[in-house]
Amino acid sequence: MDSPDYDLNSPEDFLKNEHFRRWVKYRGEDDRSFWEDFLNRYPEKRPAYEEAVATLLVIFGDDPDEESDLVRAGRLRALLDAGAGKAEPLPLWRWLRWIAAVLVIGLGFWWSKAGYESRIAGYRLEHPIALEEEAWITRQNQSKEVLLVNLPDGSSVLLSKASSIRFVKKMNGARRDVYLDGEGFFEVVKNPAKPFLVHTDKLTTRVLGTSFRVKSFPGQAEAEVVVKTGKVAVMTGDNDAAEPLMLYPNQRVSLIRKNDKVFRSVTGAVSAEAATAIEAEPFDFQFTPVSEAFKTLEMHYAVKIHFDQEKMGRCTVTAALKDEPFLEKIRLICLATESSFEIKGDQVSISGIGCP
């Protein structure tokens, strides 16, 4: 063990001490007895010690999923051990790369030639396709209840009343852009390669896959984003240069625009009564009868689910479907109960052979 560092007084002294940092990071048994002893001997230094621990923990930050590191590291080591054996892999790799490149270029030529010919043959053919890809769909909720909208990528939006959403029919681009007027609760399919952006008149919310609520009615000064799961970046206005604001579960940002100035405030845990039902719902099913699970879904997504009560009466569901989009929830429940589903508007029909 290092020489005792008894000249530690301010939190800063602790922080600069390598021995102390090692203890907070690894919490080894040897170190534990040292610091236990230290705190017993110098109880007056406890506040500084505690403060320094808290500071270090904040600097360290979140450290998700440590256990799997060992497994993945082992896999990488195995890969290096095996793949990088005695034989020289370089020349073969190089050759394969060249062959692939030639193939790609060749295909490219063929493709552009074919494209050119078909254009000559009848360019009208290409037009409708291009149009269809860029075709916009607008869904408006004029009813008094929420309206479920399933997006082309499988994500779902619960549209509040007097709100509307606009998106392209095929989300083939590099980003998934949707435009919202009013309020919607989003459950986004995870796809790190394609960020999902919700644009409103006052703010833009950007995610890779999570669930959250956005509220921004045109003509109102106030806008709001509340996060249920995952991380969300909020940008104000269309100014991409401005630093995005990161929001975490149960955090909310309110934004008020006055005289063209934007005031934003982040608040912590959303109080239970303020959170609307679906945000508070964990969708955590443990041997739940399928009829009950469907009832929960019907309630939150304002849909009607039809199924054969007699056949599926004995089926149960065990799953945590906290931030899965609606389609994904239905798909997973069907998978678990060996059934299939069909959706027409707000009507969902489930058919299955039932459970033993």
């Binding site: 800063e12 390598e18 534990r32 808290a54 195995a78």
Partner: protein
């Protein structure tokens, strides 16, 4: 070179790897996997991307072993490489245009095991929340410097090389972070004087 194992130091492993020992690179990969992933994830990149970057890094190292030179710090080399490839990914995604647009994850774990740190749970939760709010105001790059200095134990010189800023700026970053703690500490002291 059967005598290479988990206790062999970095530079010996690096030398062995450069001489064609794949097991030596494997040991290094295993040694730094967790640290590299943790660091990569701080840029708010998806986990699978970070994992791909790490894997590519080591496979590239193996492929190019004849062109790689000896390095004074293997850890610095690996961190610099992973930072570079993650920034490249962000640039491709058009999420990175300048240093200011570069993210840093400042979130905290859901729970802390206070007992393992010899502190009462409530006390620790309170202090962490205060300190978190306090440090939220720091720019992201300063948070990165603090992390590299105090979590990864890197020298100011290495941090400046890694982040591509001069040493004086790194010292300033660290100093600013410290000032925050000191202000906080001062307030606590004054409060203690009043109440006890």
């Amino acid at each position: 070179m059967e005598n290479l194992d988990r206790t062999t130091d970095d530079s010996a492993l690096w030398l062995a790897y450069r001489n064609g020992d794949n097991a030596a690179l494997g040991v290094l990969a295993e040694r730094y996997y967790g640290a590299l992933r943790r660091y990569g994830m701080k840029f708010l990149v998806d986990e699978s991307i970070v994992e791909d970057c790490i894997q590519d890094l080591f496979l590239d190292l193996w492929q190019n072993r004849e062109r790689i030179s000896q390095t004074p710090s293997v850890k610095f080399y690996l961190f610099k490489a992973i930072r570079h490839s993650i920034l490249g990914h962000l640039r491709y995604q058009q999420r990175f245009t300048n240093e200011e647009s570069l993210d840093w994850d400042t979130s905290l774990p859901e729970t802390f095991n206070a007992e393992s740190l010899l502190i009462e749970q409530e006390t620790l939760n309170g202090l962490v929340a205060q300190m978190h709010a306090q440090m939220e105001a720091l720019p992201k790059r300063e948070r990165e410097a603090l992390f590299l200095r105090y979590y990864e134990n890197m020298s100011v010189a290495d941090i400046s090389g890694l982040m591509g800023v001069n040493r004086q700026s790194v010292s300033n970053f660290l100093q600013k972070g410290m000032t925050r703690i000191r202000t906080k500490w001062f307030v606590t002291m004054v409060l203690n004087l009043f109440f006890f």
